[in-house]
Subunit: 413 residues, 2 copies
Amino acid sequence: MAEKISFEAPRGMRDFYPEDMVWRNKVFDAFRAAGEAAGFEPYDSCVVESYELLARKAGEEVGEQIYHFFDKSDRHIALRAEMTPTLARMVAQRQKELQFPLKWTTIAQCFRYERMTKGRKREHYQWNVDIIGEDSILAEVEVIGAACDALRRMGLSSGDFKVHVSSRRFLGELLSGSGISADKHAQVFLALDKRGKMPDEEISAMLRDGGLSDADVKATFDIMNLKSYDGCGELRELFRLAEIAGFSDCLEFDISVIRGLSYYTGIVFECFDTVGEFRAIFGGGRYDNLLTTIGGEPTSAVGLGFGDVVVTELLKSRLGEGAAKAKRGVAVGFMFPEQRDAALALASRLRGEGEAVMLSLKAQKPKKFFSRAESSAAAKAVFLGPDDVEKGVARMKDMETRGEIEICLSAAK
Amino acid sequence: MAEKISFEAPRGMRDFYPEDMVWRNKVFDAFRAAGEAAGFEPYDSCVVESYELLARKAGEEVGEQIYHFFDKSDRHIALRAEMTPTLARMVAQRQKELQFPLKWTTIAQCFRYERMTKGRKREHYQWNVDIIGEDSILAEVEVIGAACDALRRMGLSSGDFKVHVSSRRFLGELLSGSGISADKHAQVFLALDKRGKMPDEEISAMLRDGGLSDADVKATFDIMNLKSYDGCGELRELFRLAEIAGFSDCLEFDISVIRGLSYYTGIVFECFDTVGEFRAIFGGGRYDNLLTTIGGEPTSAVGLGFGDVVVTELLKSRLGEGAAKAKRGVAVGFMFPEQRDAALALASRLRGEGEAVMLSLKAQKPKKFFSRAESSAAAKAVFLGPDDVEKGVARMKDMETRGEIEICLSAAK
């Protein structure tokens, strides 16, 4: 036997055993179905990108966290930390040919080298939903609506989650209205984005460092207490259209949603569980610099990123660990080698009829067969003994109801 | 505008635009459906693996081709070149808990740094189908049967492809029967594996270098002309069971299928298009050293690797470029901003009924709307003008038959 080496995945990377895949498929299937229902077209690209592209878009913090290396031709390449730079590159590459607006979606594995803390991995999958080249607020409605639809398809309702919505433009107007000049807004956004993550005193200090007077700081905190979006036309329109589209119960106005630095330019949103137990489920907004940062033509876009980790934790908590284990398919077994041909013929016939069939590969005692069928995903089970094959009739057992129906084996030839 | 950077994917890596994803989804959907029908459970792992694991399993050539690098903690990591080492690691990690036999499947992106030649990429996706811990020939039948089923689900038939099957054990027996001792068999397999890739004279030279006499070389070439598998019990059984399972028309005996070096131990197979136009579509066989090379307990396994590149080329060639573009879903548009709410309400209703809806995000002239609907994937189209909304009735057009049906808008509220 060879020297034993570690059987663990590299630190921060996940293995998906079949029982983990049941959850992942539940989440991914909902992403795909919601994207398709809302008319988004799938796209994808390789997880390996040029380092230059990723560094251009990334802030300094992210730049530090990129996995990067040189290939054998000394090309500087990297594992993407997010999909947006790749999206920008692909759109820019065909900007003259593509028919805008684009409605594109992908489920992209992304890598980030981070200190390991609980729940933090160094890779995750992120569902991306983007509309590129459309100014209308209907773009925001379609993107947020698709995300709410995905959560519903996973089995959650508006009682489980809320999409917190605000507008960068609105917040800027409110700041200007309080006499805080536009050149200071970026610094204010940066400070306000830290709310909840650091004490208000430190945020006040950040604001004063940004050139705000004590009165400005007070005005800024007052704005953060705003509970109504009535002063903002685009938010009023967003909520009205969400009602027509049937997901306004999933939305709430939240002036404190900022989303990082200079990236976003209009509506911004973040989705949280209503208990406040988990980190953000998804987030996004309108951004106008997608293509210009890499040298493409200016275009407006709305997009969101929806990771697989938080939502899976939420689903397990709200629906229970057993929720993903839907029983389906038929287990087929046989008692002696003499029944193997009949079992294979039956399995092939059932597969031809559209059933998923778990065929035992060798003769078994009935007890062992039914015990494994019980613990598997099988909804039904058929076990062939000598008498069944001789008579040409077997019994198919419903694993839940314990009821049995007779099936004809002769049709198997 | 920022300095322009390259919009191309890194060399050897693929972008998948929506029109490429149509083909990829056709192939992946067939992989998933065939795996599920045959009762294989999905698993997955991260594309980043430890270098030590990959180097252990890989031959020298592959070791040279691995993308590897050091992370910020100086961990030696790499992008997997194939899934088998990861599969071995995951099985070994839980060897005491897992219920054997395992029937596992995954679609794994794999990387290999190669000189760029036509059709050769540095990454591809490989469908892996494995049965681990089962000696019965029924394991081979299930694995090969699933692959044939996937090809049929893609729209191909046994006239388009054949699975060439042989047995390492049978070939060894034939060589021994000709007086070529077992210690020389590895060298003979190595030489015979090059047939078709180099002239027979060079293969003869390789065989003589391996210690074979001129008579042995002649005997070896005679064996390569064998057309019947009657002397091999396990091949007879495989063909008989494939007939019961309904895919024997996809199989043919081919003594020249060898598959590399010491990896395989029994049945081996490779699938080719019947015209002989493309490289192998998939290949695999029985292998016994899966776990022992990394220090796990011995176990027998049957598996195959089925790449996405060759089969996609084959499908485009045999089915035509248009074959993947199935029309589906409904395009919804509107003439003036006043009809936008009605269009959104209709789109939401149709989505609730299970339709994929491509909703126009702004008012359009009917000509422009129908022209884009025509070039899109939409099977049906509805365009709302002022009269339609006033009457509460619109017309849904079938894009293929040009027929129209009336639909009620009032039900949209």
